[in-house]
Amino acid sequence: MRRYLLLIVALVLVLAGCGGPAQKAEKTQVRWFVGLGAGTDEPTIAAQEEIVKRYNESQDEIELVLEIVPNNQAYQTLATELSGGNAPDVVGPVGIRGRDSFKGAWIDLQPLVEKYQFDLSIFDAPMVDFYRNPGEGLLGLPFAIYPSFLYVNEELFEEAGIPLPPTEYGQPYVDENGKSWPWDMDTVKRIAMKLTVDQNGNDASSPDFDPQNIVQWGFGIQWTDARGIGTLFGPGTFVAPDGGAQIPPHWAEAWKWVYDGMWKSHFYPNGPYGSSDLLKNGDWFSSGRVAMVHCHLWYAGFAEINFKWNVYPVPAYKGKTTAKMHADTFLITKQSKNPDAAFKVLSYLVDDVAGELCAVYGGMPAKKELQGDFLETFFAKRWPGQEFNLKVIQDSIQFADNPNHESWMPSFQEANTRYNQFTDLIFNNPDVDVDAEIQRLKEDLDKIFRAAQQ
């Protein structure tokens, strides 16, 4: 009976695997799936199609087929294709998050690297090691990195009559009276409150301030989750050394700082404001209503900003700076029918056309020789006629978070769902006992992690 049932599923998979549409040409078909990360934005589509077209014209062994799926449907589509017997071969660009959401779906690239003598020394060795997972091997080759920094609306500082943040890491903040302050969370909070204004023009430090009618905010971390917020105060992980759950104490501090920023000091957009039309439904910085926004390099690739802005260093917490990092890679699926051909395509993407693709997605190339003047070229093309503190972006790389804020946890998505409930709660409710909720979060994550170990 049991065998019979298994047989049905096996039959689906096998039939689907060996059946399928007949290959018309003798060319090997390789499907490239885009959707788990960058690459679904309208302006990037044509550029990717162009690269595929050129690849297909350049040789006659492989026919590369591009498949772009809108991000919010990409997970279900990929899952259906993987288990419906019609798996794509190459998937990317994809971050750590997307990769770990499909744990078990990827092949170890190491044997192929050796077989085709792919030269890994074109990347920094730590970058390559970043993609090595114990027990699973080399999942992905480095493609692009996206450091984070502060996007600053200089016009809002000017209106408030407040000096701009320091232009380099390590420098202090000099206030309007000429006094120096360390560029840290306390300083940020103080100036952010002055930059937070209600519709009558009172700022958040004034007793007349009306928190129900705020029109401008001082600080925000755009599009992140609990781990991203925590990492502003320092890197960490939910996974304790014994495999259970822990809450890094500085993460708890970060959450409470943000909670205070939303509901008591009001300099940080809370949930309802943050998703409102006023703040462009989450695209805070380009709304021109948030003075300082912490975000990644990719934002500069597609944001529509029509005011004077520049990039500034991430503030420190207790003397230590952490600028969280995003990294993208390309992967090959286990279900791929032609891993060898897929690897050829993958090496083409991360090596031959890496520079061109990175410019499309707005990422810094992981390939060393392309890094040199990438930022200058990218900004000159994307934001012509403006001067930027590009050294800040370059320097942010050395403050990258380790462990990364997107790194692996047991039962990745379950844990993710649980801590998103926590952020939902604190972003939307003014009267939460944050310490008690953190304790509950820890207990629930502990259960999830320990259940996964069994």
Binding site: R2, V9, L82, S276, N281, D424, P430
Partner: protein, 306 residues
């Protein structure tokens, strides 16, 4: 004679029977088999047979399943009567002989059902925002009460309001239900009203003794389809909150939980169990409705055997 009827009956339903055998039977059986497997969509090659482990988990170990069923029943209790009464009321208004410009009004009330879903979601998220949403602004503008902001009406964040908010969103997509009621009303012979009028029946009496009995077949249809739809209620809470269950997990409905297990955690084995629970729940209510229909659904053509 009977044989003749058998043959013609089967011939008429043959398209469906064939379609069912070709397109539905295998996927339905397969999805039941899934519920007996440890089946990760990310790594289908590693699938193993686990028997009724997933079923036991759903019924014994995982309180979330039962809780989600409770939530959808509560939501259905609120949403179904409000939705049905609203649709029937609108249909009656649109059917009224007092209404001028009937065609224009029918089109207006159907309009929201034509709007593509991507656009509708953006609209609802926009109008329900407590600070900038038009609903709060309109209420404030008309009544003068201060209802905007996080100390005002929190449509999507207030656990006491949330089921009514989703009911409200649901009213917007009722175009089909309204049209079905209308089609039912159109089918009522005018002579019956005339006869009732001669007998001296008032408007209320006419409604309860003529209109309502004659549209019971479409009321029945709308209720059955409404219940089936509610058991699978999914899209609005999924897109508005990314299926996080916000607020307080109150929108963690069974279908949301299925989707999360199957397509977020990629655990199709356990997901299939939840889907089949949704199925049995829907089947249970559908059968009850069919059983009771003989007492309250009136078919002019005779409905003796449903």
């Amino acid at each position: 004679m009977r044989l003749w009827e058998y043959r013609w009956g089967l011939a008429f339903i043959a398209p469906w029977l064939l379609g069912f055998l070709i397109f539905y039977l295998f996927p339905m059986v397969a999805s039941f088999v899934f519920s007996l497997l440890d089946f990760s969509l990310a790594d289908p090659g590693a699938t193993t047979f686990v028997g009724f482990v997933n079923w036991r988990r759903a019924f014994v170990e995982d309180p979330e399943v039962l809780a989600s069923v409770g939530r959808i029943l509560l939501f259905a209790l609120i949403s179904l009567p409000i939705g049905m009464l609203f649709a029937l009321a609108v249909a009656l208004l649109l059917h009224s002989r007092y209404l001028l410009g009937t065609r224009a009004f029918r089109t207006l009330f159907y309009l929201p059902s034509i709007v593509p879903f991507v656009a509708a979601v953006i609209i609802w998220q926009g109008v329900l925002n407590e600070h900038t949403g038009w609903i709060n602004l309109a209420i404030e503008g008309i009544t003068g009460l201060d209802v905007t902001g996080t100390d005002g009406i929190r449509w999507l964040a207030d656990p006491r309001l949330i089921y009514f908010t989703y009911t409200l969103i649901g009213l917007w997509g009722l175009g089909n239900t309204i049209i079905i009621f209308l089609a039912g009303l159109q089918g009522i012979p005018i002579e019956l009203y005339e006869a009732a009028q001669i007998d001296g029946a008032g408007p209320a009496q006419r409604f309860f003794s003529v209109t309502l009995p004659l549209i019971t077949p479409v009321v029945f249809y709308n209720v059955v389809i409404g219940v089936i739809g509610l058991m699978q209620y999914f899209l609005p809470p999924y897109v508005i909150n990314m299926g996080s269950g916000f607020p307080n997990g109150m929108t963690n409905f069974p279908m949301i939980y299925f989707y999360r297990q199957a397509f977020t955690y990629l655990n199709m084995g356990y997901g299939a169990v939840i889907a089949w629970i949704i199925f049995f729940l829907g089947l249970f209510f559908t059968l009850i409705l069919f059983r009771t229909s003989r007492y309250w659904v009136f078919y002019a053509g005779g409905g003796e055997e449903s």
